[in-house]
């Protein structure tokens, strides 16, 4: 009986994922209303539950994909994978107010540049403080502080060791998770209210996953504006990391 049920779930991975995420949403909406009286957004709780499940999945299987490594829930990997994530993000552009987006174009671009340089400098400085002295390690860890994709792309390009790469990915992941969890709490401090502020946030906070989840948990209507800018973040980082930022670091260290 149980085996039959398990087989059904395994053979219908994506459908199982829909049901599971629906359940998670139901529970978190209920918790939001009953336990926090609507003060913490249901989506924020759902994302936290998701991260918790990912931790459980990682501990259970020792894999890298959280819950998606548990064969019963492999469909989560498809539902939350890059393909459907990007598809859904693009769909949110349907609600963009063109006038608003255009007004903030320049400040969004400025935030984007700042959002690459600032984390890099801070990340590399922390690495320096912990005793890393070679340009390759400093650049890779600094790039990891930009996003967890920029880190390994940069590291691979300039020949960093796998240990440093793992560290750099971890840095980016921790940052993404901090943004996901922290944004709804810091929304007032960050003045996240208008499309323009969401675009500034998208440029500076980086990581499509962190920005989109953070904004989703703060105000669903701001998601497309933040994502529109954040999507250029990884590209810009991968562009600058192994080139300009590496050369600058090298000239400073040597």
């Amino acid at each position: 009986m149980i085996e039959l049920l398990e087989k059904t779930a395994k053979h219908n991975g994506l459908v199982t994922a829909f049901a599971l995420v629906g359940l998670v949403m139901l529970v978190s909406m209920w918790m939001s209303r009953r336990l926090t009286f609507g003060r913490v957004h249901g989506s924020a709780i759902a994302i936290l539950i998701g991260l918790g499940l990912a931790y459980w999945g990682g501990i259970q299987t020792g894999g890298k994909q959280g819950l998606a490594d548990v064969s019963l829930f492999a469909g989560i990997g498809l539902m939350g994978g890059a393909m459907l994530r990007d598809f859904a993000i693009v769909a949110t552009a349907f609600e963009v107010q063109v006038v608003e987006a255009r007004k903030a174009g320049l400040v969004g671009a400025a935030a984007l540049l700042l959002g690459t340089l600032l984390p890099f400098v801070v990340g590399a400085s922390v690495a320096w403080a912990f005793g890393y002295r070679d340009a390759v390690s400093l650049t890779t860890i600094g790039a990891g502080a930009v996003t967890y994709i920029v880190g390994p792309v940069t590291g691979a390009a300039i020949g960093a060791s796998s240990e440093i790469m793992a560290l750099s990915i971890a840095t980016g992941l921790v940052k993404a998770i901090m943004v996901m969890v922290g944004t709804p709490m810091a929304a007032r401090f960050l003045r996240l209210k208008t499309p323009r502020s969401a675009m500034v946030f998208g440029g500076l906070a980086g990581t499509v996953s962190g920005v989109s989840a953070g904004l989703a948990a703060t105000d669903r209507r701001l998601v497309p504006y933040g994502a529109l800018v954040a999507t250029f973040h990884t590209g810009l980082g991968c562009l600058l990391g192994p080139s300009l930022l590496y050369f600058a670091t090298r000239s400073l260290v040597a």
Binding site: G66, T92, F94, V122, L167, V229
Partner: protein, 135 residues
């Protein structure tokens, strides 16, 4: 038909990713440069163009709107497959580097957003430093 909307979304998505890859190759960045962003801009343009010509009936719009509404569940699924274990095992360097850069960026965002035209209810924000509660 509802599939027209979804198909339009799919075409914009594919074209955007393709152009992003092309841009990345041209710039030598080894990665996709703004593919999703380009796709979003394409979709916005398509909507404006088709709206003007009355080629966008309600059902077609629903084919896109559904996926926009599926956004949060997809993000929850995305959160559920992050490598949380290795992020937490990264040790103090990863934690500190991430925390410091998040703080620096948060400060910057707050600063820039405060320069925006004053909001109607900003007088209640005299509490200048309810420090970002990131922990």
């Amino acid at each position: 038909m509802i599939i027209y909307g979804t198909a339009l979304l799919a075409v914009c998505h594919l074209l955007g990713i393709f152009l992003g890859d092309l841009l990345g190759t041209l710039l030598g960045a080894k990665t996709n440069v703004g593919g999703v962003g380009i796709a979003m801009i394409l979709l916005i343009c398509a909507r404006l163009y088709m709206h003007k010509r009355g080629m966008m009936p309600q059902t077609t719009e629903m084919g896109v709107a559904f996926w926009g509404a599926m956004y949060i569940p997809v993000v929850v699924a995305m959160a559920a497959q992050q490598n949380v274990v290795s992020a937490l095992r990264g040790g103090p360097v990863a934690l500190l580097a991430a925390f410091a850069s998040v703080l620096a960026c948060a400060g910057c965002i707050a600063l820039i957003n405060r320069s925006e035209r004053p909001l109607p209810e900003s007088e209640s924000d005299a509490d200048k430093h309810p420090a970002p509660k990131h922990a």
